[in-house]
């Protein structure tokens, strides 16, 4: 499910936006596994700007982050952090965090800030130990949020007045929009590390994720394949301009949805006959949980049984949740995809 499945009775466009997976996905620049954000403002009190010549090796990233951490000492609050809107000053280490975003929840728990989290929204069902509540990330209710007496609220979607309401109540809040690139992911993890006082854990997570990704890339067979990525059984797809499209692009895969999206919206609906005509090497199903799609249902579709991907068993069933979030489990997604690529390459 989406991090913030958005629903408002019968609004088609909203439903379309839903596929979009988005919450105002920002453009973002070129993705790279070891991004430029590894040395972001980790220094407390004075937000030392990231050096423009950012470290590109993981070792350098660790060194940079650890350097600032050790000088910073444990009780370094207040800290300044960057969210999607700008710089926010957090006075004291938060102990009662409310997260309204599945991806941010996963990040918080992955950097050992879990004990500081008192409530997460109804879609934050990973990791299992997260304190799931019926709070809504799509239509956040300010009264329900304040009932948890939070000293920090993090979210990825603001329907209009969430941030201003929280500010008016004097509750510290951070908005981190859906990631547009891997750099955004590293950035958000590190900023969450700063704000929770888990700087070292955050740096470690980023380094380990980057290491995992580089390992996946290193093991990748030297082959180029085309792929069709399915968001639902009405053939909505993603292009290379989206976060997941960029990430799959890192693996050298070519997206067949790109010609279908001249405006760069990112989430076109494809024609069935186009998919059959192009005959992609790989089919990724991101609609297994939501819509019960699998290899068999795909093979049963009219005209699809003769597709190369179907014949080769290259129809890959993804976990919708993992595929629609930009949290630590993005590594898992890439692992599944890389395995499929390796398997296909071994066949030929």
């Amino acid at each position: 499910m989406y991090t913030h499945p958005r629903y408002a009775g019968g609004k088609w466009l909203l439903a379309l936006a839903l596929w979009a997976w988005v919450l105002g996905a920002c453009g973002g620049g070129e993705s790279s596994v070891a991004g430029s954000s590894a040395a972001t403002q980790a220094s407390p009190t004075t937000a030392a700007p990231a050096t423009s010549a950012a470290p590109t090796t993981t070792e350098a990233a660790v060194a940079a982050t650890q350097a600032t951490t050790t000088t910073g000492a444990p009780s370094a609050f207040p800290v300044e952090v960057q969210d999607s809107l700008g710089t926010v000053t957090i006075a004291a280490r938060p102990e009662r965090i409310v997260s309204l975003s599945g991806s941010l929840t996963e990040m918080l728990f992955a950097i050992d800030a879990g004990p500081q989290v008192v409530a997460v929204d109804s879609y934050s069902y990973y990791p299992p130990e997260a304190p799931l509540t019926d709070l809504s990330g799509f239509s956040p209710n300010i009264e329900a949020i304040t009932a948890f007496d939070p000293d920090l609220v993090v979210f990825s979607y603001d329907p209009g007045d969430l941030m201003s309401s929280l500010r008016a109540l004097g509750i510290p809040a951070l908005i981190m929009l859906a990631a547009g690139s891997l750099d955004d992911v590293w950035d958000q993890i590190e900023q969450l590390g700063i704000v929770t006082g888990q700087v070292e854990e955050a740096a470690r997570l980023v380094v380990s994720m980057q290491g995992d990704l580089q390992e996946i890339l290193a093991d990748l067979p030297d082959a180029s394949y085309t792929y069709y990525y399915e968001l639902d059984q009405n053939l909505y797809s993603v292009t290379s301009a989206t976060f997941v499209g960029r990430v799959l692009g890192l693996l050298g895969l070519e997206n067949i949805a790109d010609p279908a999206d001249e405006q760069g919206y990112g989430y076109p609906q494809l024609s069935s006959e186009y998919i059959i005509d192009v005959d992609p090497d790989l089919i990724f199903l991101a609609d297994t949980l939501c819509c019960g799609q699998n290899q068999d249902t795909v093979a049963e579709r009219p005209g699809w049984s003769g597709l190369t991907a179907v014949a080769n068993g290259a129809v890959v069933e993804l976990d919708d949740d993992i595929a629609s979030r930009w949290g630590p489990r993005i590594v898992d997604l890439l692992e599944v995809v890389a395995d499929a690529v390796a398997e296909l390459s071994a066949q030929s």
Partner: protein, 350 residues
């Protein structure tokens, strides 16, 4: 009292107009089969189509995959578009006649809300382990239940007081209630939210022959009943009391016509999701161009509705090819201006 069958006499549609409409329909279907995002060679497609005619042998050089695209994707989709358009347009015309309300559409009496609820329930049950449960029959059943509720509840004030107005109002209330139930189910089962939307947004994109065979019988029955009762609809336009004095039972006609139109609309909705506009625009355009008799409106709406939706579907799958436009957007975008043009050149609707 004249038996209803006396009203069911065939009457002349205007052969010339009908032939013209049919020719237009065939032309649209031809174009629909020739163009598409896969870019099949048109001459070869034409050859393959002609080859299928009895007693004709024509060579074509389409590959197996291209033939699959033509026969398994393009053909059923085009035919389904035409069937749905014909059904919605004729059902819309019938509703407008029987309720004497120019704004009546095929979804008036809770068809859409009932189908939506049925589809939602089917999707929820599938997520609960009934994985092979087919969706279309439940959507269909929901649509029929929606209309049956509207019809049944409009009787509660007593037989004599039941008018077309009470029926429409009951339909509005039932539709609101069913939509509320559907929304509640959806919101309490968030993991299936996306599939419900998928269904509502329309399914012409993935239609196959089996989907078509499943709904065709209901549509054909609906068309036949509406064609048979087109003269009775003319009598209904003068008002219930007047119709009674002419020897017609307005309640009986209304029940039969509403049942038939609902059957068709429910089949269309279950196959294609909600496609608005066709049921209003097509019959009114026919009215403005060809006159006010339902003897003309019903058959012409059938043909023109089929041609219109098939044409809209061609636009939907070619304009932003290889992407798709939602067909409802196309019907409104093409239908709106066209209808206004007809309205301005043909005088008002009174």
């Amino acid at each position: 009292m004249t038996p209803l069958s006396a009203l069911a006499q065939p009457s002349r549609v205007g052969l010339g107009r009908m032939m013209l409409a049919l020719a237009l329909g065939v032309a649209v279907l031809g174009v629909a089969l020739l163009v598409g995002p896969a870019g099949l060679e048109m001459g070869e497609v034409l050859a393959a189509l002609v080859d299928r005619l009895p007693l004709v042998e024509v060579e074509n050089s389409l590959t197996e995959r291209e033939l699959t695209i033509l026969w398994e994707i393009r053909m059923p989709r085009t035919v389904m578009g035409a069937l749905v358009g014909a059904t919605l347009a004729s059902a819309g015309a019938a509703y407008q006649g029987v309720f004497r309300n120019p704004l009546a559409d095929p979804y008036l009496l809770g068809v859409a809300a009932g189908a939506g609820l049925g589809a939602t329930v089917a999707i929820l049950l599938r997520a609960r382990g009934f994985s092979s449960l087919p969706l279309a029959p439940l959507a269909f059943a929901g649509a029929v239940v929606g209309v049956a509720l509207s019809y049944g509840l409009s009787r509660t004030r007593g037989r004599d007081r039941r008018s077309s107005t009470t029926l429409v109002l009951a339909g509005v209330a039932v539709a609101s209630f069913l939509t509320a139930v559907q929304t509640f189910l959806q919101l309490t089962n968030v993991t299936t939210l996306r599939e419900v939307y998928s269904w509502i947004l329309g399914r012409l994109v993935t239609v196959g022959w089996n989907d078509l065979y499943a709904v065709l019988p209901y549509m054909v029955v609906s068309w036949l009943v509406l064609l048979i009762f087109r003269r009775a609809l003319d009598v209904m336009t003068v008002g219930d009391d007047e119709a009674s004095t002419l020897g017609l039972s307005p309640r009986m006609v209304r029940l039969i016509v509403v049942s038939a139109a609902t059957l068709g609309a429910a089949a269309a909705v279950s196959a294609s999701g909600l496609i608005a506009f066709v049921g209003i625009i097509v019959p009114h355009t026919v009215r403005l161009l060809a006159g006010w008799s339902y003897r003309v409106i019903i058959p012409l709406s059938l043909v023109m509705g089929g041609a219109f939706l098939a044409a809209a579907d061609v636009v939907a799958r070619t304009v932003v090819s290889p992407a798709e436009l939602p067909i409802g957007v196309v019907t409104a975008f093409l239908g709106g201006p066209f209808f206004l043009m007809v309205l301005r050149t043909s005088g008002d609707l009174e």
